[in-house]
């Protein structure tokens, strides 16, 4: 089975984000990029499937200089090869465009099964895998917490409000991985050494047969125009006194200051 996993490089989750001078992007210079956490579940599931059923795993990442390192991480965990799709000339603000580019890259590859994380941490649009499914005409199941692949179809369990839904779909299909699907492994040192020797190809949008007017700024439906940080949180207040005084003051604060009871 040929498996592809799309992984995204996102700022480390405890990074203190600073807004860049243009007011519409983040300051990237001192940020450390990691694999988006949900993509780790996607990657782990792909590698487990390969280990149990054979086949190959290709990791694909769209973006700039931050991408090769996370692809190497995927290779170290057990993927066989990697494709870096350069974001030069791609309007990455728009998930529709990102989906279009990834769909083109995936089409060249022709996988039986494609994994994504259920969403990319940071942007939180939750759209790219749906767009790719649409572009490739494949079924997609997302927020998946359990997966079986047999006889040319997937059987997935997905989290829904108050319960679990079981969904079946024929291959090729697209899966959006949710936390709980598996326990992602650490890469091993041996894996890191082997990853050095595994192929990592770089592709431009032109290599994918796409033109600037299809995926460039002019083609974008949306554009991020501004970013702002949430207001600084106010300092907490400590309530002193004996138990009776504390209760009285706490109730008073909840009723009259926070107005929650």
């Amino acid at each position: 089975m040929k498996i592809a996993v799309c992984i995204k490089a996102v700022p480390e989750t405890d990074t203190r984000i600073r807004i860049a001078a243009d007011g519409r992007s983040i300051e990237r210079s001192d940020i450390k990029f990691i694999v988006s956490p949900y993509d780790e579940f996607a990657l782990e599931e792909a590698i487990k499937l390969k280990e149990s059923k054979g086949g190959s795993v290709t990791v694909i990442g769209l973006g700039g200089d931050e991408v090769p390192a996370i692809l190497r991480d995927g290779l170290a965990r057990g993927a066989d090869d990697a494709v870096h799709v350069s974001s030069a000339g791609v309007a990455t603000d728009d998930p529709l465009i990102v989906g279009k580019v990834l769909a083109a890259a995936l089409k060249q590859l022709g996988p039986d099964l494609i994994f994504f994380g259920k969403h990319g941490v940071g942007g939180d649009n939750q759209q790219v895998h749906a767009v790719v499914a649409e572009k490739l005409g494949m079924p997609q199941v997302t927020v998946v917490t359990k997966l079986d692949v047999t006889d040319g179809k997937v059987r997935a369990e997905r989290e829904i409000e108050g319960g679990i839904e079981v969904v079946e779909a024929p291959l090729p299909a697209i899966i959006g991985a949710q936390k709980g699907l598996n326990e992602p492994r650490y890469p091993k040192l041996q894996g890191i050494m082997q990853a050095k020797k595994k192929p990592l190809a770089t592709k431009s949008v032109a290599d994918l047969g796409l033109s600037a007017d299809q995926v460039g700024d002019a083609a974008a439906g949306i554009r991020i125009t501004g970013l702002s940080l949430p207001p600084a949180r106010q300092a907490g207040r400590r309530i002193d006194g004996d138990a009776g005084q504390q209760v009285a003051e706490l109730v008073n604060a909840l009723q009259n200051e926070a107005k929650v009871i």
């Binding site: 405890d14 203190r16 600073r18 001192d30 450390k32 090769p68 390192a69 190497r72 991480d73 170290a76 650490y186 890469p187 091993k188 040192l189 041996q190 890191i192 050494m193 990853a195 050095k196």
Partner: protein, 392 residues
């Protein structure tokens, strides 16, 4: 806002390769996710987190600079250094375990062992399935191992070992002890033996009541007419060169490890100074505290550059023992000073197990002494520059 976690003032990261950074980040995540949550309890209770022995082996942390054909990762010495750095950022006891396993047990078997010994032990030690220890120090001979009294006598069946070793990391739990003993009268007769757990006449009681390296097992090794088969002598080395070449490997790792410890205490102090308010301001805004932080990060940065350069020399096969001595001596003393300064910044909290500082500080007292005391390394540097040995 400042990034307090990533201690890299001189942008050393720009000098590391992708794999080196991957290895560093792997070890860092492992320490944060698996070691830090349990280490204070282990320290307090005086136990090693034995459930982590195998996982660390499976990731390839033991003997990672030895070749792949023996189940190791074949990494370079920078990567090896970065692993010890991250492990010691967790706790010196964890790093000690890895140093002993890698540099003092796997290395001599690799460098001086027979092919059968290598095949038998290295893969199992690499995964952590088997544990090793290294017995050089004796109750009466620490800094001058050349006067050791442990003896191995050639017999019809192999060798008969008598004597005792003291302060041996992992002794009680080791499946194999690399023991150095004299086979004759003089230093040149020193040989290495692989003593297996369960050998008749061999026991390894634990040394209790330590105030330092509490999350590490330290033991005495006792040999009473202990019979060692002929195939368990390390064939490839005679004399003090055997144990000293192992110590060189381990000291190299310690030079990096100490940086990790200093990173941990510096980070704790920096974060604390930014959040602790006195006289209406974070204490980080007072010049006295800034001076401490400035000196700490300067010393850490110097130590990092020293370790990095040493690693490059080691990978090029050009490093000398006296250079390693300088790095071990400087970096461990640096880490201890950083820990002490950090402790003052934390005030009363500095002595609490809620923060890692005092644990690191206590641990470093052992690190200052083992693998050649600070004084002994001073004498090694002195001998190097003057040409005059001042040991005796």
């Amino acid at each position: 806002m400042v990034n307090t976690k990533h201690v890299d003032y001189m942008n050393l990261d720009s000098l590391f390769s992708t794999e080196e950074l991957q290895v560093r980040d792997l070890a860092r995540s492992f320490v944060e996710e698996r070691i830090l949550p349990v280490i204070e309890d282990c320290y307090e209770q005086g136990v090693y987190p034995s459930e982590l022995i195998r996982p660390m082996g499976e990731l390839g942390f033991y003997g990672c600079n030895l070749p792949e054909e023996y189940g190791c990762a074949g990494m370079n010495n920078i990567a090896y250094g970065l692993i010890t750095q991250e492990l010691e950022r967790g706790d010196s006891g964890i790093r000690s375990f890895a140093s002993v396993q890698s540099s003092l047990v796997m290395y001599p078997i690799f460098a001086f062992g027979s092919e059968e010994q290598k095949r038998k032990w290295l893969p199992a030690l690499a995964t952590g399935e088997k544990i090793g220890c290294f017995g050089l120090t004796e109750p009466d001979f620490g800094s001058n191992p050349s006067d050791m009294v442990t003896r191995a006598e050639h017999t019809k069946f192999g060798w008969k070992l008598n004597g005792a070793k003291m302060w041996i990391t992992n002794g009680t739990v080791a499946d194999v002890a690399v023991v150095w003993a004299k086979t004759g009268e003089d230093t040149r007769s020193i040989r290495g033996f692989l003593v297996e757990k369960g050998t008749k006449g061999y026991s390894a009681p634990e040394i209790k009541k330590k105030h330092s390296l509490r999350a590490s097992i330290t033991s005495e090794l006792i040999f009473e007419d202990c019979e060692i088969p002929e195939e368990n002598i390390l064939p490839g080395v005679e004399g003090l060169r055997g144990p000293l070449s192992c110590l060189n490997q381990a000291r190299y790792g310690i030079a990096w490890g100490a940086i990790g410890s200093a990173m941990a205490t510096y980070t704790a102090a920096l974060e604390y100074s930014l959040s602790r308010i006195q006289f209406g301001k974070p204490i980080a805004s007072f010049q006295l505290q800034q001076k401490k932080l400035a000196e700490m990060i300067t010393e850490i940065s110097k130590a990092q550059l020293l370790a990095f350069h040493l690693g490059k020399l080691k990978d090029a096969g050009k490093v000398t023992p006296a250079q390693i001595s300088m790095a071990k001596r400087n970096n461990v003393a640096m880490a201890l000073n950083v820990a002490r300064e950090a402790r003052t910044i934390l005030g009363a909290n500095g002595i609490s197990a809620e923060y890692p500082v005092m644990r690191h500080m206590n641990n470093l007292e052992s690190v200052l002494t083992y693998e050649g005391t600070h004084d002994i390394h001073t004498l090694i540097i002195g001998a190097e520059v003057t040409g005059i040995q001042a040991f005796k």
